[in-house]
Amino acid sequence: HGQRPRPPLVLNNCLLFLSGYAADIISTVEFNYSGELLATGDKGGRVVIFQREQESKNRLLSRGEYNVYSTFQSHEPEFDYLKSLEIEEKINKIRWLPQQNAAHFLLSANDKTIKLWKISERDKRAEGYNLKDEDGRLQDQFRITTLRVPVLMPMDLMVEASPRRIFANAHTYHINSISVNSDYETYLSADDLRINLWHLEITDRSFNIVDIKPANMEELTEVITAAECHPHQCNVFVYSSSKGTIRLCDMRAAALCDRHSKFFEEPEDPSSRSFFSEIISSISDVKFSHSGRYMMTRDYLSVKVWDLNMENRPVETYQVHEYLRSKLCSLYENDCIFDKFECCWNGSDSAIMTGSYNNFFRMFDRNTRRDITLEASRENSKPRAILKPRKVCTGGKRKKDEISVDSLDFNKKILHTAWHPKENVIAVAATNNLYIFQDKMN
């Protein structure tokens, strides 16, 4: 049975708590292409990268722990003198580039600026210079009597992060998405009203490919909320809006992709219409499946899977926390209704995951239609323990272990989650704690 494909987490119905990490409020989480590295960005502009420990025969039980690999300050707070406003250093998004040599590269973006960082290891140092002594001071030339060839000596591993490119001054509004193109040469960045296409080597120019800013700002009723490049077709990208629509654009069609190639929108159910309908339809995240055949969108109460060949409705809809529908007015009052939840696919596209409140996160198995609610909190999970499924009680009698809707803590929200590209390992950011869960070993 060694070759049987690993079933998704939902089927196994249990997880191990692997590690937790407390920092500033985490604002983005992303695995790299191999899953060996996990990057987090936080509100203080810092990036922390975790690396998975190599499995070894000695430590069978602690297979694949993630430990801190590198920490660096990506963005600093800035002040925009034109508008007399602070620019937050909070990292909105991190996206890895595929690895092409020994070093790792990632893009990190705050509201206005994107930076390309190179993370490289140094484990050797040159010693035996002729002109410098051990401390680096220049030697008196008269003292040099012989010539020698410097040699490389091993040293303690040092991981260095250096900014290689800074892509600035292209966004008037706040950047909400960055996405690396499948050509690995270009990437797009999206703010509320515009999407720009960059070349990774060129920092002083970008192409504007979408512009939905109306001539008269008074007429503004819709903004861009997320954008992503297609995983295989480098000419295709999608962007979602605050009105619950998704537009797929082909860059071959025109230089300015204001006219979409496909327009995805689900017709509204007139019976459930309320003043909050538009707000809860606003899409907070859009992600292509790894196969490139589907895409997933997250709105306030649900996750929808769309077939790219069908524009008039999604093929699957999953309710994340439908019990909140009757609480929309309170959630509007405390601004929770504007929370932007992300969503993610597992490596085989058979399961999807998204966050909720009270440090709950939800996973849905697309094949069996089973779903599970789990909690990421220190109080409820000891290291290496199996996570217990949670349930929210909506009706009258609350069963034991259930939690009622009114007891939910709306300050504890899980907005950012990530799934390892190949294995059943997930990273969940709960405010300022990072939790990494792994499928129970058989």
Binding site: E76, P77, E78, F79, D80, Y81, L82, K83, S84, L85, E86, I87, E88, D111, K112, I166, A168, N169, A170, T172, Y173, H174, D192, L193, R194, N196, T203, D204, R205, S206, F207, N208, D211, K213, M217, E218, L220, T221, E222, V223, T225, S242, F275, F276, E278, I279, S282, C329, Y332, E333, D335, F338
Partner: protein, 288 residues
């Protein structure tokens, strides 16, 4: 919530009001109360001023759309008209009403400086911002009456024609000023600062957003065409920028000095330390 229906009769026998219709009336008024409180809540949300950080445009757009929806429904109901009549005198001109609704949060835009965010427009009138600045920024319309009044004015300004009329005035004012300013200030200073606009205009012309995107960048020229030293006097009137110096010609020059890659954005410590130097430079340019 409501008692079970049994028919009652008035003693004078004129009408039979069943409890069902009474319930219906109560539900309707409860709905309109809820709707009203939602409208009030939305307007208050839009009023919250974000002093230092730009408000979230997506959130603002969604709230504004919600307000619009409510107003449209109320207009269809006919209840909108009643509300505006009740609390706003018919003698008020449309522009007055529009101006009064500018008690709303600031939303920043690249092609203009700090503006007020209005329910219906994302570009606002800056006069109000200066004149009653502190009160505006900290205002939270709490009592119901003034809330309704505010809502009423917004509704009156819904007509496109009124809007464009005031807009034209606003735009003319916008073009002639770098920051928030009063009309009188501009008029008196106009003569004195003839030399500075041209020079600073040339200087500012060199720093452009370096990307291919067209758009409002040309408005930058208009912005900087009228820089004058009186700006700093206004500075003391303006709230919200306690912790950092307000944008002025000095700061712009300073932002030009360092790397070419970040023209308008400079980290705070560098700017403050060079202020005296720039003071001197500015005096030379202005020739005062």
């Amino acid at each position: 919530m409501f008692s079970k229906g049994t028919k009652r009769k008035f003693s004078d026998g004129d009408e039979e009001i069943s409890d069902e219709s009474l319930v219906g009336a109560r539900v309707a008024s409860s709905y309109s109360l809820q709707r009203q409180s939602l409208l009030d809540m939305s307007l208050i949300k839009l009023q919250l001023c974000h002093m230092l950080v730009e408000p979230n445009l997506c959130r603002s757009v969604l709230i504004a759309n919600t307000v619009r929806q409510i107003q449209e429904e109320m207009t269809h109901d006919g209840s909108w008209h009643m509300v505006t009549e009740a609390f706003c005198g018919p003698g008020q001109s449309p522009s007055e009403r529009l101006v009064a609704t500018e008690v709303l949060c600031r939303s920043r835009e690249q092609d203009a400086e700090p503006k007020l965010f209005s329910v219906i427009s994302y570009e606002g009138c800056r006069e109000e911002e200066v004149v009653a600045d502190e009160t505006l920024c900290s205002v939270s319309v709490s009592d119901t009456v003034s809330n309704v009044c505010l809502a009423g004015r917004v509704g009156q300004c819904w007509e496109k024609s009124e809007l464009s009329g005031v807009e034209r005035d606003e735009e003319a004012l916008e073009d002639s000023r770098l920051g928030s300013g009063e009309d009188e200030e501009i008029d008196t200073e106009d003569g004195a600062s003839t030399e500075s606009p041209k020079t600073t205009g040339q200087v500012f012309g060199t720093f452009e957003i370096k990307n291919g995107s067209p758009g409002p960048d040309s408005a930058l020229e208009e912005l900087f065409s009228d820089v004058d030293t009186s700006y700093y006097d206004l500075d003391t009137m303006l709230t919200g920028m306690q912790s950092a110096p307000k944008m002025g010609p000095y700061d712009l020059l300073d932002s030009l000095a360092p790397s070419h890659s970040s023209p308008s954005i400079v980290s705070t410590p560098t700017c403050r330390s060079d202020l005296n130097e720039l003071d001197h430079i500015m005096e030379i340019i202005v020739g005062s």
